[in-house]
Amino acid sequence: MDEEQVVKFVETYLKKKGFKQAELAFHDEVQHNSNANSVDIHSDPDLSLLLLSLSQSEDTPARYHEEYRKLRSWTHSSLDLYKPELLRVLYPVFVHCYMDLVAKGHIQEARTFFNSFREDHETVHSRDLQKLEGVLSPSHLEEMEFAHTLRQSKVNLKICQYSNELMMQYLRNTKSTMMLGIVNEHINFQVSPGQPSSISDDAEVVTLIGNSQDAANQINKKEIHWGLLEDSLEERLEKAGGLLSDSEKTEGDAKEGDLDETKVNILKRSVEGGKQGASVKKLKKDKAASATAKVVRPETNTSSIAPRVKSELPLPVIPTEVEQSILEDLRNRVQLSSAALPSVSFYTFINTHNGLNCSSISQDGSLVAGGFSDSSLKVWDMAKLGQQSGNSVLQGENDTAPSEHVLGPNGVKRSYTLFQGHLGPVYSATFSPLGDFILSSSADTTIRLWSTKLNANIVCYKGHNYPVWDVQFSPLGHYFASASHDRTARIWSMDRIHPLRIMAGHLSDVDCVQWHANCNYIATGSSDKTVRLWDVQSGECVRIFIGHRSMILSLAMSPDGRYMASADEDGTIMMWDLSSGRCVSPLMGHNSCVWTLAFSCEGSLLASGSADCTVKIWDVTTSTKVTRTEEIKTGSANRLRSLKTLPTKSTPVYSLRFSRRNLLFAAGVLSKCK
């Protein structure tokens, strides 16, 4: 191969790649300089061959197709031991082949290429493929963020040394220069010595956006304090419980007779929520003092294992009488476990005419809110609802308590309180912990605060630029977090109309948001298939959880602050360990969108409600224990045990909520289309 030829090759190569600067520089180099580096070329026939093939003018789209096809069949016929690893290489190669073809303007060929091989990746990457399928011109590549980031970044792939060598050897031997180019350009092999890893579906396979993986690893090293707040009510309960049990000992003996009876009533009473009369309340107090002190003891012990942290936010002060009632609830809590499943009270919305977008249940289950696509927010007082039906039987028309019912425009009695003010579909609603406020978020980019006492809109929070998908009150009230289509999550306080913090970093819509039990963190789930944990005080992202394969729809934090559950469109639920940022175990079982998740109050059970018209109850304790002991083998299939599936009558479950006494409330819309 003579020198001039080499120069020509290099020139054509540079021209082809469009490296004008380099080309000019090369020209200069050639003219001015002796050919110092051409010696290498002479001595390495392989390289010269490579160059030869690179410069070949027949750079037709057919070569992409052909070479990919060959690579694919080679991979599929490779040794079983290395196959999983090699198969992982195929997807990025496929995607980049397609994008290269598009970028070069071979639209027709790109389409045929895409369609002939898409089935291979359909199972794992269907969402991405759907997105990419629409890319049909070079300008789209620039415009579409997903494609853009893909082309900008490199994919990290873990691969064992031998597989790597095998692949490279194959590519060189077959002179699959196109593939070789793509592999070099877009894949960053993290070659590890030794045996190939057998984990077929770890996080890296699912996401292609490489730099986020690096960043995620970096971010996930940050320290987080997942412990519970010090001086929380639960902690106080222990002292209080101790005190009470001492002081009430004398009183308790007298009451022992009706203990059993009251125990039975616990459930009933917590359903009735606000309904219970003064006499019942008294009874509850009596009983709470003497009976449940023992029951609560073990529970408080477990929660005290969690380390205590100081709050980084100034927290609202809870009024003492509210505190008292919460303490009572805590004492009356039913202990749930895999053996003792919760009772589920189901609120079914009927006649919604396909208009209900969201529902929310207050802490005690007495209030139910529904956000509708006609911009209205409706709140039902379940306590009154029960009364009303009782009254209507007894009194009929002569209802003497007009204040209890809201009169509609025509004087027609409505069973609910109507809140109007939004200008677009209401996508989310949340009750304050005490049930005196409701927040609603809407497509009109605003969040509104409503008072359930005054039945009026109090504040309108403007800040987001796009529809607000989700809003959540903090566990202690006053603060709330919102998630929006504008890819940010924001922290607000009730008394300010501007956000306190803006959390930016998600690559797509932020679809859901959830507070950590200690109020120092929020978690956000996004359409970019990741969940992030943010520090409320600093506004920094402290964890990225990668592993979901589709849009995240709901999040839940365990009451002990250690775990988080997230659920996606496909029906997969994942349990995450916050401190390590790793997935504890994926929960398979739902076959449609999981709209809602809820941990039981002592954290032993997880409930999930789905569009497949079921409520599932999962055992959390067993799985987390298992993983703690076998932490080395993360990724092995230690699935959470599904304890119970409760099918509803063609009613997708929109929201779930454990009351403080561990009664599970669920809400959903009766859907007729079946």
């Binding site: 027709q108 389409r111 759907q130 997105k131 629409g134 049909l136 011109s137 789209h140 459930l267 003792a340 499943l341 919760p342 009772s343 589920v344 009270s345 189901f346 079914t348 919305f349 009927i350 006649n351 919604t352 005419h353 396909n354 208009g355 209900l356 977008n357 529904g370 509708f372 696509s373 409706k378 039902w380 379940m382 029960g386 069973s415 609910y416 579909p425 996508y427 497509a443 796009y466 529809p467 289509h485 679809d511 359409s527 849009m551 729809l553 469109e569 969108c593 709209w595 569009a611 409520v615 109850i617 304890l643 119970k644 409760l646 099918p647 509803t648 009558k649 929109y654 819309v669 289309c673």
Partner: protein, 541 residues
């Protein structure tokens, strides 16, 4: 290249007033249109998810367009999912069926009902993890309970763990087979093919999955086909065949089958025509019932008692028609002579008193009724006769009729029957010589099982009577006595007590039989005598 053909672009261009869109422009616009469309749909899917739906509606598309700051498309608001229809002649062209509405109709039509307002209802989805069986919960709705009775049961005990219904899959062949058989039974039960079918029912091994369907079919057809004699007979034949089939496990379905069978036995009317020989059907069914009892009586202890109770009630109720009585008698008779002896014979005398006027020409003018009465009388006579025959047959026959027998005026008949029976008698009754050898074996076997003895002593089984019966023949006596003595020697003194008890019992039985024959003779007159074997006759007369 793009899924949007350039023709579409051209059409759109024309619709907004651009007539001379060049082909190149259309071609390069097409991919972009597709890209934008996909983008909008992706956003629309997001909106759909946030509205917690799984079906995309036009509202979602509008919301997505809003997100992109594009004017939404008006005029496609929909309450529910749109119904697309396929254009005829095109594989992948769909349209929304939009009906023409006449304004006049709309104006003149009464105001539609206001839609019901949204409300919330509350129920228990689960109580401590168990789903209560209330109408608000799904499973009860899905699993329709098979009958009302079971439904109420389920409601009684509230928390029911509901099992999913077992799907019963019948192969196509079996379905065809079933259809064919039912068709034959219903319409062509006199054809030769039906006989083949019965044989097949009685022998084929793969029919078990069909049994519930057959029982159901039989029950249904009997219930509504009581007027169709031919059908009923065919159905009973099917039952018979099914019972014969050794591969079928029919026990679980007996409770469904029995009512139909008993109906065919004691129904007031079977068939509506005069010519219908319902007597034959009743006879056939009686044998059917008897065979069922024989086969499953030991599995279902209550089967025979319940059956006999039903039949006896039918018999003893004077309000029932004679046809029913006939069926009852036949059924009871088919169950065996013991049943007749215990249940029919005690009631014989009062019953005959009721029956008698019906049979007499002077008292009953209706010839049909009289005929029926005679049929019943005949059945009774046969039953009683069979019973007494069975009773007497168990005694060992005498070596020869004693010469000193007292003959009365009915001698002629007796001798006739004697002659007639003589031939058959020898075959049926074991000759004395053989008995002498058989006897000891039996006696020994009973004596050797002491645990069995006490029971035997109190109620000796009739079958054993013959071997130890001392009174019947003097020739036989020493034989058995000898044996007894031998056994006594081996077993001990208490034996003698027991054997003597047995002997006493047997003697009593014999006496009873004697009385029975006498009373039967009183009731039936000479008719009964034909059933009494000749040798015994000589003893009693």
């Amino acid at each position: 290249m793009s899924i949007v053909p350039k023709e579409t672009i051209e059409v759109i261009a024309q619709s907004i007033g651009i007539n001379n869109l060049s082909e190149d422009a259309a071609l390069s616009l097409a991919p972009d249109v597709e890209y934008r469309m996909r983008e909008v749909m992706q956003e629309a899917i997001k909106c759909m998810r946030h509205s917690k739906r799984t079906i995309l509606t036009s509202d979602d598309v509008d919301a997505a367009l809003n997100l992109r700051n594009v004017e939404p498309i008006y005029g496609f608001a929909s309450g529910g999912p749109l119904q697309f229809k396929r254009a005829i002649g095109h594989r992948d062209l769909f349209y929304i069926d939009d009906k023409d509405v006449d304004f006049k109709d709309v104006i003149e039509a009464p105001l539609p009902k206001a839609p019901l307002d949204t409300s919330v209802v509350c129920h228990w989805l689960a109580i401590e993890g168990v789903q209560p069986a209330i109408p608000e919960n799904a499973p009860l709705e899905v699993i329709a309970p098979p009958s009302d009775g079971k439904n109420s049961e389920q409601k009684d005990k509230l928390p029911v763990d509901i099992k999913l219904p077992v799907k019963h899959v019948l192969s196509r062949e079996l379905q065809l087979y079933f259809d064919k058989i039912t068709e034959l039974t219903l319409r062509r039960s006199d054809s030769a093919l039906f006989k083949e079918a019965l044989v097949s029912l009685a022998t084929d091994s793969g029919l078990h999955p069909l049994v519930p369907y057959f029982t159901c079919f039989i029950a249904d057809e009997v219930a509504c086909g009581l007027n169709d004699y031919k059908l009923l007979f065919a159905l009973m034949r099917v039952v018979w065949s099914l019972l014969q089939n050794p591969h079928i496990h029919i026990e679980p379905y007996l409770h469904q089958l029995m009512p139909s069978v008993v109906t065919c036995l004691v129904a007031k009317r079977l068939g509506n025509r005069f010519a219908d020989n319902h007597w034959e059907l009743r006879d056939f069914t009686a044998s059917l019932v008897a065979s069922i009892c024989k086969r499953f009586g030991h599995i279902y202890g209550s089967l025979q008692t319940r059956l006999t109770k039903t039949l006896l009630n039918a018999l003893l109720d004077p309000k029932r028609s004679l046809t029913q009585h006939y069926g009852a008698i036949q059924g009871l008779a088919a169950l065996g002579p013991n049943v007749v002896r215990l249940l029919v014979l005690p009631n014989l005398e009062p019953y005959l008193r009721v029956l008698e006027p019906e049979m007499l020409l002077e008292k009953q003018r209706n010839e049909m009724k009289r005929y029926e009465a005679w049929r019943v009388y005949g059945a009774l006579l046969r039953a009683a006769g069979k019973c007494i025959y069975d009773r007497l047959k168990i005694f060992p026959p005498l070596p020869s009729p004693p010469a000193h027998a007292v003959w009365r005026d009915n001698r002629k008949i007796v001798t006739c029957s004697n002659k007639r029976k003589a031939g058959t008698e020898h075959l049926e009754q074991p000759p004395p010589k053989r008995l002498a050898t058989d006897g000891p074996v039996d006696v020994v076997s009973t004596d050797l099982s002491p645990s069995h003895m006490p029971g035997e002593a109190i109620t000796p089984a009739p079958s054993n009577d013959s071997n130890v019966g001392p009174s019947t023949s003097s020739a036989h006596m020493p034989n058995s006595n000898d044996l007894d003595r031998k056994v006594e020697r081996g077993k001990g003194d208490h034996r003698s007590m027991k054997t003597s008890a047995i002997l006493n019992q047997v003697w009593k039985d014999d006496l009873k039989s004697g009385h029975l024959v006498a009373s039967l003779f009183e009731l039936f007159g000479q008719g009964i005598l034909s059933f009494i074997p000749a040798p015994e006759m000589s003893l009693f007369l």
